[in-house]
C-alpha cells in the first residue's frame, strides 16, 4: 500500500464539519451585512436624483461586473501590499459582503420604487410624517415585493462563498480539495460537497416560495 495516500475515514468528520461551519459562517455574515447595507444603499438610490445615482451606480456596477474571484485576490493582495494583511475570513467577509450589497441594493431599490408616489401621498395626507410613511408603508410593501429576488441573491451568495477558498479560507470547498489530494477520492468527496450545497439551498428556496405565497398581497 502506498502510505502517501490514506482513504477517507470517520476521523475526517471533524475536519469536514469545520469546512461546513466556515461556509455557513461566511455566508451568513455576507447575507446579513449585504442585506443591511443593500437596504440602506437601495433606499438612498430610490430617494436620490440622477447625478447622485449615476455616481453610486457606477461603483455598484464595478462590484457587480468584476468577477468575485478577482475581487477577492485583488483585495487580499492590496491589503497585504499596504502592510495590513488580513486573515482570510476577515478579507473574504468584507469582499463577499460588498459584492452581496451590490446585488441586494438593486433588489431593494426596485422594491422601494415599486411603492407608488400616490400611495405615499395618501399616507402623508393622513398626517403621517416622512419617516412614519417609510416605516409603516414603504418598507413593508417594498420588502414583501422583493422577497423572491432577495432569496435568489442569498442562495447565490452561499454558492459564491466557495470562491473565498482562493484566498485561503478553510470553507467547505477548500477542506474538500485538501481531502481529495490526501485520499485521491475526488468523486465521493465532490458529490458529498455538491449534496451539501443542495441540502442547504433547496429547503431555503422552498421556504422562500412558501413565504412568498403566504405574504402575497
Amino acid at each position: 500500500m502506498n502510505s502517501l495516500f490514506t482513504p477517507l475515514s470517520w476521523d475526517d468528520t471533524g475536519y469536514i464539519l469545520t469546512g461546513v461551519w466556515n461556509t455557513i459562517t461566511i455566508s451568513v455574515v455576507a447575507i446579513v451585512a449585504g442585506t443591511l447595507l443593500g437596504m440602506i444603499v437601495g433606499f438612498a438610490r430610490a430617494e436620490s436624483n440622477k447625478t447622485v445615482n449615476f455616481l453610486f451606480g457606477s461603483v455598484l456596477d464595478i462590484l457587480r461586473s468584476v468577477p468575485l474571484i478577482i475581487q477577492l485576490i485583488l483585495f487580499s493582495t492590496f491589503v497585504g501590499a499596504i502592510g495590513h494583511p488580513m486573515n482570510p475570513f476577515v478579507a473574504g467577509s468584507i469582499v463577499l459582503s460588498l459584492y452581496t450589497m451590490a446585488f441586494m441594493s438593486e433588489v431593494f431599490r426596485g422594491g422601494f420604487e415599486s411603492v407608488s408616489k400616490s400611495m405615499q401621498t395618501a399616507a402623508r395626507s393622513l398626517g403621517m410624517t416622512y419617516w412614519q410613511t417609510i416605516y409603516h408603508i414603504r418598507f413593508p410593501i417594498g420588502l414583501r415585493a422583493v422577497l423572491p429576488s432577495w432569496m435568489g441573491v442569498a442562495l447565490s451568495v452561499i454558492k459564491d462563498s466557495a470562491l473565498v477558498s482562493v484566498i485561503g479560507y478553510m470553507e467547505l470547498l477548500r477542506t474538500s480539495e485538501q481531502l481529495i489530494s490526501r485520499t485521491q477520492q475526488p468523486l465521493e468527496i465532490l458529490i458529498g460537497v455538491g449534496l451539501f450545497y443542495f441540502i442547504i439551498s433547496y429547503p431555503l428556496s422552498h421556504y422562500g416560495r412558501y413565504l412568498e405565497r403566504k405574504m402575497a398581497i
Partner: protein, 240 residues
C-alpha cells in the same frame, strides 16, 4: 373655514393656478368641475400642503397652511383627503388600514384606534370586512375604505379628488351614496368631480375651473342647469 386667497401656483414655466380665491364655510359642500389640466387637483394639493404655492395665501381655520411655522403633518389631520386611486395599504387588513393613522399619528391606544376604525368602517358600510385584505375587495369597497380611513382621523374637512373616476360605472353609486351621507351629516367638503348629477344634487355650490382660474362659481343648481359664463356652458354641453 377654508379660505383660498389669490393663490398662484406654477410647475416650472407652467402656471397652473392663476389667482384663485375661494371661501368654503363650515358645513358647505363645494363641487369643483372643469376640464382636464385646469388645476382642480393642484388646488386640493395646495390646500393640503402636499404642493407649495408661489404666492397668495390659504387659511384653514385661520391657520396659514404655507407658513414656515405651520406643522404640515398636524395640519393634515384636520383635512381628510381621498384620491382617484384607492391607495389602500395592501399589506394590512381593512381594519388595520383604518386604525393605523389614529394609532401612530394621533398616538391613540390600540383599543381606541380599533374602536374608532370599526365605527368609521361601519359608517361607510364595510362593517363585515374588518379582516379582509383590501386587494380582495371591489374598487367601490376600496374607495369606501379610503373614505373611512380618512374619517377615522376625525377631520374637519374632506378633500375629494375625482374619487369615482377610477371605478366601474356600476360601482360609482355606492361611493356617491357614501359622500351624500357625509354631506347630510354636515361635513365640510370640496369635491373635484365629473359627476354633474352629484354636483347638482348634493353640493351647495359649484365652481367651474378653466385654465387655472375660477370662471364661474355659484349656487349648485344654477351653475349646472343655467350657467352664466359661455365657457361653463360650452364645458357642460360637452360633458353631458
Amino acid at each position: 373655514m377654508i379660505s383660498v386667497q389669490n393663490v398662484h401656483k406654477s410647475f416650472g414655466d407652467l402656471e397652473v393656478l392663476k389667482g384663485v380665491s375661494l371661501d368654503v364655510p363650515n358645513g358647505e359642500v363645494l363641487s369643483v368641475i372643469g376640464g382636464s389640466g385646469s388645476g382642480k387637483s393642484t388646488l386640493l394639493y395646495c390646500i393640503n400642503a402636499i404642493e407649495t404655492i408661489n404666492s397668495g395665501k390659504i387659511l384653514v381655520d385661520d391657520v396659514d397652511v404655507h407658513s414656515k411655522d405651520t406643522n404640515k403633518d398636524k395640519l393634515r389631520q384636520k383635512l381628510g383627503m381621498v384620491f382617484q386611486h384607492f391607495n389602500a395599504f395592501p399589506h394590512m387588513t381593512v381594519l388595520e388600514n383604518a386604525a393605523l393613522a389614529p394609532r401612530i399619528v394621533k398616538k391613540m391606544s390600540k383599543e381606541e384606534a380599533i374602536e374608532i376604525a370599526k365605527k368609521e368602517l361601519e359608517h361607510v358600510g364595510l362593517g363585515d370586512k374588518f379582516d379582509v385584505y383590501p386587494t380582495r375587495m371591489s374598487g367601490g369597497q376600496q374607495q369606501r375604505l379610503a373614505i373611512a380611513r380618512a374619517l377615522a382621523m376625525k377631520p374637519d374637512f374632506m378633500l375629494l379628488d375625482e374619487v369615482t373616476s377610477a371605478l366601474d360605472p356600476e360601482l360609482v353609486g355606492e361611493v356617491l351614496d357614501t359622500l351624500r351621507l357625509l354631506a347630510d351629516e354636515g361635513m365640510t367638503m370640496i369635491c373635484v368631480t365629473h359627476e354633474m348629477g352629484f354636483a347638482r344634487d348634493v353640493s351647495d355650490r359649484v365652481a367651474y375651473f378653466h385654465q387655472g382660474v375660477i370662471a364661474e362659481i355659484g349656487e349648485a343648481k344654477q351653475v349646472i342647469t343655467e350657467p352664466q359664463n359661455p365657457l361653463t356652458q360650452k364645458f357642460l354641453s360637452k360633458v353631458r
